[in-house]
Amino acid sequence: MFPIVKKRVLNPTVTYMEILAPHIAKKALPGQFIMLRIDENGERIPLTIAGYDREAGTVTIIFQKVGYTTYTLDTLNEGDRLLDFVGPLGIASEFEGMKNVCVVGGGLGVAIAYPQAKALHDLGATVDFIVGFKTKDLIILEDEFANACTNLIVMTDDGSNGHQGFVTAALQEQMEAGAGYDTVIAIGPLVMMKAVAEMTRPYGIRTIVSMNSVMVDGTGMCGCCRLTVGGVTKFACVDGPDFDGHQVDFDEAMARARMYHAEEAESMKKHECRLTGGIR
């Protein structure tokens, strides 16, 4: 059992948790993920490692309430325990040779792009960190972000913080202004990562995306997370989750991500039931 030692509600849909798992904290690296299961009847879901404290033995996860499992996870509090917490899984991000990097985070991706930005910044690279939110009130972790990069650009869809537009608009502006990035790292919704990859393609800038596919075991056994990269089938869990964004078949990945939408909706009814004192 893995205790939740810290919980912070970052905004109405995004929650931060530190989980006590010293053996994972000891080895975790940016870009890797964990698999968790809340209780005996629970499903196994992958979450990107958003941080770790090797001394305290904790692993940070930041998740958005999107489905039954994440809604249920959000009902847990400090002191509660997760039944299963496995990791670190996947191949850690490769930062070799990166000197001038733009890290782009959209949606929940802002939180999971943070360790990448921080690692690159710590390695001495020049890091532009572009993050995007719907509106000003949903902006999270702004101070942490600012300390993890050379230049932080916060965009809002409605312009309520004074910078209106998607993260891609900001990226385009930087590139047109001659930012000269050697690498762009995009983490977030598939549609955003696809847009970033299309934008950097004409510039020939190496573009790395983090694929958050549906998984069951997370260790290569089931192949549920497969995707096409450069015409070849890869497993996000053991071959990734980082891939060359210019090679990923995003349309296929987006179709596969929608696979269980109907079942998610059915599960959510159960969640409402549970919150209102129904069964389970």
Partner: protein, 465 residues
């Protein structure tokens, strides 16, 4: 006087129509009377050909004569002295190609139903026996086992009996490996697997789940930092193979591993009471002809599919599945499209499977495996309307240990190179066996490898002093 009936006592089974809608065990097991009657068919041959056909050398005539006398617990003790998982083997071993294939009674009529009697004594002992297993005093040596499937459990059990301090590391949340994620409940009840694992734990074996060796901890860390003097790798056949035909990444195409794991381990048949979903269409095609393909097809039926096809490129004779599984599948209404191979899977505009194109095959000259090679019949392509496709054409070993263990020699296809008799690998103190070495094979062969490795590890550690 031996029972000279030419036929085995029939195994009582659930009715095919009833069972194809439930997950309860299909075969119901012998009564004591049936077991005794069947055991009396054994002629007690002097040279005991059956024993040499068993990968773990169960002393078959000895335990059968005890069963014939009604001494079921004594018989169980004989079985357990060389086979730590008899209730499992009695159910899933391919006896017809092992012990029973060599049975003298099989020359004229059916061989003795050794597997069915083994299952009976194991079940009887679980219900009635309470004896404590004999364990040697602790010898102070630590051994790590990677994977809690049949190879790992057997190796662990044998080493614990010799007094070793044994820890099994399991990647998933539940121990058992393929016994829990792969083989379905109706063929191997999970409560029974749990009991068999509990008997291994009763020998003092510790099981740590949620621990992916090669990721959470490397093999070198186990040996250098955690004080394990030897490691046995029984990590199984990890990565599912695909056909590499167009459309395999469409929604509704599953590897057999994923399909079976969602159903067996994650209990997707009980969605939404269990949280893991699965989608099974009205018509399902399972590609492949092995036991895993039969399991997937029969699961699909139980998930409510109206039509379930087995699509296999060779003929009836070459089906690698056990005859009993093929028979059960046919009884349950699975449709066999033999000498048929998929050429592409076709999706709708949402990227969901709506059909599969297949081509008829004919058998040509024998290939390297000695089986006649299937060749396409030109122009015989046709379309099968299906909404779900399950690819059950085998697995390749998991790369996680290979890629994080320097100096561990592997075959080009990923299998760990290990000595057949001892399981010894290219790394000192590291032994391997089961599907991780051979590629997908059977439970009993994995157990045999675990057993040999346990003896070799014992010899290795004792030889170090």
């Amino acid at each position: 006087m031996a029972n000279m009936s030419l036929e085995k006592n029939k195994m009582p089974e659930q009715d095919p129509i009833v069972r194809s809608a439930n997950y309860k065990e299909v075969a119901l097991g012998y009564t004591p009377e049936m077991a005794m009657d069947e055991a009396r068919r054994c002629l007690n041959c002097k040279n005991q050909p059956c024993v040499s056909g068993c990968p773990v050398n169960v002393r078959i005539p000895e335990f059968l004569s005890l069963v014939a006398e009604g001494k079921f617990l004594e018989a169980a003790a004989v079985v357990k002295s060389t086979n730590s998982l008899p209730a499992i083997c009695g159910r899933v071993c391919p006896q017809e190609t092992q012990c029973e294939a060599l049975c003298v009674r099989g020359k004229k009529g059916e061989p003795v139903g050794i597997g069915r009697i083994e299952r009976f004594v194991a079940d009887y002992q679980m219900e009635h026996g309470a004896e404590k297993p004999e364990v040697a005093p602790p010898n102070g040596h630590k051994v790590a086992i990677v994977g809690s499937g049949p190879a790992g459990l057997t190796c662990a059990g044998d080493l614990a009996k010799l007094g070793y301090d044994v820890t099994i590391f399991e990647a998933l949340h539940t121990p058992g490996g393929v016994l829990v994620y792969g083989i379905p409940e109706f063929r191997l009840p999970k409560a029974l697997v749990r009991k068999e694992i509990a008997t291994v734990e009763a020998l003092g074996v510790k099981i740590v789940s949620d621990m992916v060796i090669g990721k959470c901890i490397t093999l070198d860390e186990l040996m250098q930092e955690q004080g394990f003097e030897a490691v046995f790798v029984g990590s199984g056949a990890g990565l599912p193979n695909f056909q590499k035909i167009p459309g395999e990444n469409l929604i509704g195409v599953y590897s057999a591993n994923e399909f079976l794991t969602r159903i067996n381990l994650m209990k997707a048949y009980d969605f939404p009471n269990h949280d893991t979903p699965i989608q099974v269409g009205r018509t399902v095609a399972v590609v492949g002809g092995g036991n895993v393909a039969m399991d997937a097809a029969r699961c699909a039926k139980r998930m409510g599919a109206e039509n379930v096809y087995i699509v296999y490129r060779r003929s009836d004779k070459e089906l690698p599945a056990r005859a009993e599984e093929v028979h059960h599948a046919k009884e349950e209404g699975i449709i066999f499209r033999l000498l048929t191979n998929p050429t592409r899977i076709i999706g709708d505009e949402q990227g969901r499977v709506k059909a599969m194109e297949v081509v008829e095959m004919e058998l040509g000259e024998p290939d390297a495996s000695g089986r006649r090679r299937p060749v396409k019949k030109a122009g015989s392509e046709y379309i099968l309307d299906v909404q779900t496709v399950v690819i059950a054409i085998g697995n390749s070993p998991n790369p996680l240990i290979k890629s994080t263990t320097p100096g561990l020699e592997c075959e080009s296809w990923g299998g760990i190179v290990a000595d057949e008799e001892t399981g010894r690998t290219s790394r000192e103190g590291v032994y391997a066996g089961g599907d991780a070495v051979t590629g997908a094979a059977t439970v009993i062969l994995a157990m045999g490898a675990g057993k040999k490795a346990a003896q070799a590890i014992d010899k290795y550690i004792k030889g170090k002093r």
